[in-house]
């Protein structure tokens, strides 16, 4: 199975929607890779500079209801083509969460206090995810290990490499 983790990009706001992650005007692109430059282009977050702030990041850490709004899987692909394969949040919109697991990527929900802990580790935080032990290790000003819950079916999708592969085998 592929490795999940990387440097954390902190998006300190609730309700970040799919139009902010990838604006609708780019939905006319017919390849995933073409989406790459437009990541988080319309994100309303003071001081955020998508091109600069995203560089070298592999994990997004954010607040509640991430990915609300449209069903566009482009919001997942734009992370994938920017080498981000984990989003950690207090909660997700249903379709975004399902799209992540359908693509074999991780949308990890943590209680508010654990999200606060990761936010408190400073600006430079590196996160690794151990799927077998359902543990996130975050190394910033100090190192913390946090347990998370992973739905068994979602785990199977990640192991299978996504829903299409799983469904083709099972149905």
């Amino acid at each position: 199975m592929k490795e999940f983790g990387g440097k954390a990009l902190f998006l300190d706001r609730n309700d970040i929607n799919t139009d902010e992650i990838i604006p609708a005007k780019y939905l006319t692109e017919n390849t995933k890779l073409a989406l790459q430059p437009y990541i988080l282009e319309d994100l309303k977050l003071g001081g955020f500079n998508p091109r600069k702030d995203i560089e070298g990041k592999g994990v997004i850490v954010t607040r509640a209801n991430f990915g609300c709004g449209s069903s566009r899987e482009h919001a997942v692909w734009v992370f994938e083509v920017n080498d981000i394969n984990v989003v950690i949040a207090e909660s997700f919109a249903r379709i975004f969460r399902q799209n992540m697991y359908n693509c074999g990527m991780l949308a990890i929900e943590l209680p508010k206090k654990d999200i606060e802990t990761i936010f408190s580790l400073g600006d430079a935080v590196t996160i690794s995810v151990d799927l077998t032990g359902c543990t996130i290790t975050a190394q910033g000003d100090k190192k913390v290990a946090i347990l998370f819950k992973l739905n068994e079916f979602d785990k199977k999708l990640v192991e299978a490499g996504g829903w299409l592969a799983y469904a083709d085998k099972n149905y």
Binding site: D15, D19, N30, K44, G69, V76, N102, Y171
Partner: protein, 427 residues
């Protein structure tokens, strides 16, 4: 133990239970449009899996950008058009016959009580108005739907919203759902099905019920759902008349899907809407909602009437009621996009199009249009639109633009006055 309507539909479509929390359902209708389907098609082709599970259960339309505006959107249209022809998908609606998916497909009678419906579009929840389970999905779910006719869901949890009282004149289903979203917030219904019932819903037309269910997703809901009744049966009658001897028998049959009196809900809420006034959004989230009286006087540059939320014949009628014999303000650009060709021709016959045009509105072909800033009606930086659509997200109708969501009545009153206006003053 009793079951909710969603639990009954899930039980009737259960293919697999991979874990106690997850179910795989058989899908009755897989709907497709030209924005999210082409990537599914090209991916299936690349994998050597260019097949469809059942051509009669797939419905496709070009609606978001039509006519095509540039080479990229022309290619999206071409990919879905070629695919529909290749697989002999009969129910494919191209230019001249196309319209906004969630208005067009119900008109064609494609959704029935007890059905399961998916589409690569978040406003698929609209079809719950027919007593169906209908959910928006991403492209991978759509691919599997096209290929296998199945989709995965979490075990359903239902929130019961009982709407009581009586709506005053000038207040509509749009105001009711905006008010509900304000109460629930943008994630108050996440992973839940929103079951709408009570005397106000029973008195609503199918058009109004579709408006109500359309915005369930704006509270995070998986699906909005209404209990199918005589109103549903009458709407569907041209499509089901060979199946039932009478409307009464259809209504009786639909009753099998009704939630049992002892069904379990995760949350119950009763709203008396007798004193509800027209609702308008502010800010960038659909739960940022105020009474119109608090928003009056806000200047607007554009008024947009259309979309899967409010582009149906009743919506045009209610806006025309205000616009008749009036001109829109000089500072306002008015745009009307009837949702389907049928709505358009009906509006022509009823003289509604003439009312809009004499008032100074531009009338476009049926399309999703300005709603998501993909084709026409895009706002310039700093411009404000009064809109009957469903999302006021930052940049939704164009970078730097601001959208205030409201009913067709409020939008029409706003167009006439040039600033946000309580429609009750003009009735």
């Amino acid at each position: 133990m009793g079951k909710t309507i969603a639990e009954k539909i899930f039980a009737a479509h259960l293919r697999d239970t991979p874990t106690p929390e997850n179910v795989i359902l058989d899908i009755d209708v897989v709907m497709c449009h030209e924005i999210t389907t082409p990537i599914a098609i090209t991916d299936l082709e690349a994998r050597g899996m260019d097949r469809v599970f059942d051509t009669t259960k797939i419905k496709a339309v070009i609606d978001h950008v039509t006519p095509a505006k540039d080479s990229k959107t022309a290619m999206q249209g071409k990919i879905i058009r070629d695919w529909a022809r290749r697989h002999k998908i009969q129910d494919f609606f191209d230019i001249g016959a196309n319209g906004v998916c969630h208005a067009l497909f119900p008109e064609k009678g494609f959704v029935r009580p007890g059905y399961t419906v998916i589409m690569g579009d978040s406003h698929t929840c609209t079809h719950g108005a027919f007593g169906a389970f209908a959910a928006g999905v991403g492209t991978t779910d759509l691919e599997v739907g096209i290929l296998k006719g199945v989709c995965s869901f979490r075990t359903p949890e239902t929130m019961k919203i009982t709407i009581t009282g009586a709506l005053q004149d000038g207040v509509s289903a749009k105001d009711v759902i905006l008010f509900i979203i304000k109460k629930l917030t943008v994630n108050g219904a996440t992973d839940k099905i929103m079951e709408f019932s009570g005397p106000v819903v029973e008195a609503m037309s199918m058009e109004a019920r579709m408006t109500l269910c359309n915005m369930a997703i704006e509270a995070g809901g998986t699906c909005g759902i209404c209990l199918p009744d005589r109103v549903t049966a009458k709407y569907l009658w041209p499509f089901i008349k060979d199946q039932y001897e009478s409307i009464d028998l259809a209504v009786e049959d639909f009753f099998q899907w009704h939630s049992d009196p002892d069904a379990t809900y995760v949350q119950e809420m009763t709203l008396d809407v007798s004193t509800l006034v027209p609702q308008v959004t502010f800010g960038y989230k659909p739960d940022e909602v105020k009474d119109v009286t608090e928003m009056e006087g806000t200047p607007v540059d554009q008024v947009y009437i259309g979309s899967c939320t409010n582009g149906r014949i009743e919506d045009l009628r209610s806006a025309a009621r205000i616009l008749k014999g009036k001109k829109i303000a000089a500072n306002v650009r008015g745009i009307l996009s009837p949702a389907t060709p049928k709505v358009y021709s009906q509006a022509l016959e009823e003289g509604l199009i003439a009312i809009f045009m004499e008032a100074g509105f531009c009338v476009t072909n049926p399309t999703c249009g300005a709603c998501l800033g993909m084709s026409n009606g895009v706002l310039a930086d700093g411009e404000i639109c009064a809109s009957t659509t469903n999302r006021n997200f930052n940049g939704r109708m164009g970078k730097g633009g601001i959208v205030h969501l409201m009913s067709p009545l409020t939008a029409a009153a706003t167009a006439v006055q040039g600033h946000i206006t309580d429609p009750r003053k003009l009735l």
